[in-house]
């Protein structure tokens, strides 16, 4: 494996990437396809009975149009049925949560700007806010990482560990700590508070939020008739959780990425080759520029049969 050219290794990584995507797609299709089709059939049956009962009173297509309108509004977070708090959608805690979801790039999508001005503001806000928050996180990291390595250094001295072992210990410890405090604990809390959802759903939600994927399908408290004060408190809590949790995850990932094993793995697959001096780098750069057209050509044939 080590005898492969760097671009071949990178090409291998690209292929692995695409295979992972394909595997994910296949598994999800297998797991989600049948229940979705079942639900769809069920809904069509329900629609048919509705039409049969009241179809005479309704003009053709009126129901579909109405439901389409309601669903479209739902997609933007405006609930058209049931009891909704009169405070509206864009009160202060909700708006705060929305801006936090932009800055952390989570982007739940349960609320999205409708007006052109709102969309334009979102773009500008993200363009300015993302680098600013990254800079803030970098500064916080400068301060916090030395603090975190203190207890590990103490333990390393006590137990006579080598620096490599100490690094591994620190990474594992931090990873477990972050997983415990920021994924398990909030999930247990959510599970206890919500009651009817399973623990796995709560863990799935916490994981989705902290990894900034943010699917937004399981936001706690949505669609339930909650006391508005509690609901807003919950939103503020979620806001704090997002910000703190993401910071913790970034710290943990930073610690992991500095492990020699991880670095070796990344370097093996991603590095452009052996150590180069400034001028030699120029020649190598040209090689890689020419060869960088290789990965996309491996990408296209992979995707063609998928569609």
């Amino acid at each position: 494996m080590g005898g492969l050219r760097p671009w071949a290794r990178y090409g291998l990584l690209i292929v692995a990437h695409l295979l992972a995507l394909g595997l994910g797609a296949a598994v999800l299709q297998a797991l989600e396809g049948p229940p979705a089709r079942q639900l769809q059939a069920q809904l069509r049956a329900e629609l048919a009975t509705f039409q049969a009962e009241y179809g005479a009173c309704l003009p053709t297509g009126a129901l579909e149009e109405l439901l389409g309108t309601a669903l479209a509004a739902q997609a933007h977070g405006i609930s058209s049925l049931g009891n909704v708090s009169k405070a509206g959608n864009w009160d202060l805690p909700s708006a705060l949560l929305f801006t936090a979801s932009i800055l952390t790039t989570t982007g739940y999508g349960h609320m999205a700007p409708l007006s052109a001005g709102g969309k334009a503001f979102c773009v500008v806000y993200a363009a300015l806010g993302l680098p600013a928050s990254l800079a803030l996180v970098a500064t916080l990291r400068h301060c916090l990482l030395p603090l975190l390595s203190c207890p590990v250094a103490w333990v390393a001295v006590r137990w006579q560990l080598t620096p490599a072992r100490a690094a591994l210990l620190q990474a594992l410890g931090l990873g477990l700590l972050v997983a415990g405090i920021f994924v398990l604990l909030p999930a247990l809390l959510l599970w206890g508070l919500q009651g009817d959802d399973s623990l796995l759903e709560a863990i799935y939600f916490c994981f989705g939020s902290l990894s900034t994927i943010g699917l937004g399908d399981l936001l706690p408290g949505r669609g339930r008739d909650l006391n508005p004060v509690l609901y807003h408190l919950g939103q503020i809590a979620l806001l704090g959780y997002l910000l703190l949790g993401l910071l913790a995850v970034l710290l943990a990932v930073e610690t992991f990425s500095e492990l020699p094993q991880v670095r070796a793995l990344v370097k093996f697959f991603g590095s452009s080759g052996p150590l180069t001096a400034e001028d030699q780098g120029g020649i190598l750069g040209q090689d890689e520029l020419a060869l960088s057209t290789l990965p996309p050509s491996t990408a296209a044939p992979e995707q063609a049969p998928a569609c």
Partner: protein, 307 residues
């Protein structure tokens, strides 16, 4: 259903009271039973299964939709137009993301690195021809920035407005929200059942996401490293003179070695041109920050190695 989307936006705006009244007026017959049936349909829609009318392949858990979901998961965009409901699929998602997100980060990291090397190669050749390396570097840098802006943010909305029927501003909004991985999900490509999408369209969009994210992360990385270089280049000098090295060679950043030697001039105070080549580009802020931060230690480490 999706046809009525934009019209529905215009109608409903953000007044949920009006939406409620609209629903109440339209449905004849016993309102409670109508509402409960409509509520059931809306709940089913909420849980992710579009049952009314036709859906495109992107909106179903078939191979294309699942593939797109996998892409949106491991890039952490997380649109949410499709989201898994079965426990098995959610569990699989968690592990898939745990493996896929780092894999994606490494791939994009190296892609950005290749782009950067290409830019540097151009700068070197131009600098050799003009006998003015600093100016050449500045020119190629801003040229890369502008061409990337054009290619990834300004031109794709034209394609989207042609294919999806969005306005240019909506297409730009979608492009920006996607590339920054926020991914609200209020705009998603390929979801309109009344339109025909050619085969190359979805593949092109996937490639655009890949390269665009690498470019955007590169830009953010460059900005951050520019900010850090000003402050650090002097403190680095101080470090080396104080002889303040900890035996923390294992804390050097990933893929550090190749560029660590070349910015030997970077350890000395740089002029306002910021001629020090930026640290390793990364796909996301995670590796992004580690590359930036390791510059400090790398500098000290380099002095330890050479001194």
């Amino acid at each position: 259903m999706e046809r009525g989307l934009r019209g529905a936006n215009a109608e409903l705006g953000d007044e949920d009271d009006r939406g409620r009244a609209y629903l109440g007026q339209e449905l004849p017959g016993p309102i409670p039973s109508n509402q409960s049936q409509a509520r059931g349909i809306i709940h089913a829609y909420q849980t992710g299964d579009i049952a009314l009318g036709n859906t495109t392949s992107m909106g179903r858990w078939e191979i294309v939709g699942s593939f797109f979901f996998s892409v949106s998961t491991i890039t952490t965009i997380g649109y949410g137009n499709l989201s898994p409901h079965t426990m098995a699929a959610r569990l699989f998602c968690i592990f898939f993301a745990l493996v896929g997100i780092p894999l994606n980060l490494v791939v994009l990291n190296h892609l950005g690195h290749l782009m950067q090397q290409g830019v540097h190669g151009c700068a070197r050749r131009l600098g050799g021809a003009w006998q003015d390396p600093a100016k050449a570097r500045w020119l190629t840098g801003s040229g890369a920035l502008l061409s990337g802006l054009l290619l990834f943010l300004l031109l794709p909305p034209l394609l989207f407005s042609h294919m999806e029927g969005w306005s240019y501003m909506e297409g730009f909004y979608f492009a920006f929200i996607t590339l920054s991985t926020v991914g609200f999900g209020d705009y998603v490509i390929g979801m309109d059942p009344s339109r025909q999408y050619p085969l190359w369209y979805k593949n092109t969009v996937s490639l655009w996401i890949l390269f665009g994210m690498a470019w955007l992360a590169l830009i953010i990385k460059l900005i951050l490293s520019l900010m850090e270089t000003r402050g650090r280049s002097y403190s680095c000098y101080r470090h080396s003179s104080k002889g303040d090295f900890q035996p923390r060679s294992w804390r050097q950043g990933p893929e550090g070695e190749a560029e660590r030697h070349s910015p030997r001039p970077g350890c000395y105070p740089e002029g306002p041109g910021g001629a020090r080549p930026p640290s390793e580009p990364s796909a996301q802020d995670i590796l992004d920050l580690s590359g930036v931060d390791s510059g400090t230690r790398g500098c000290a480490e380099h002095r330890a190695v050479s001194g």
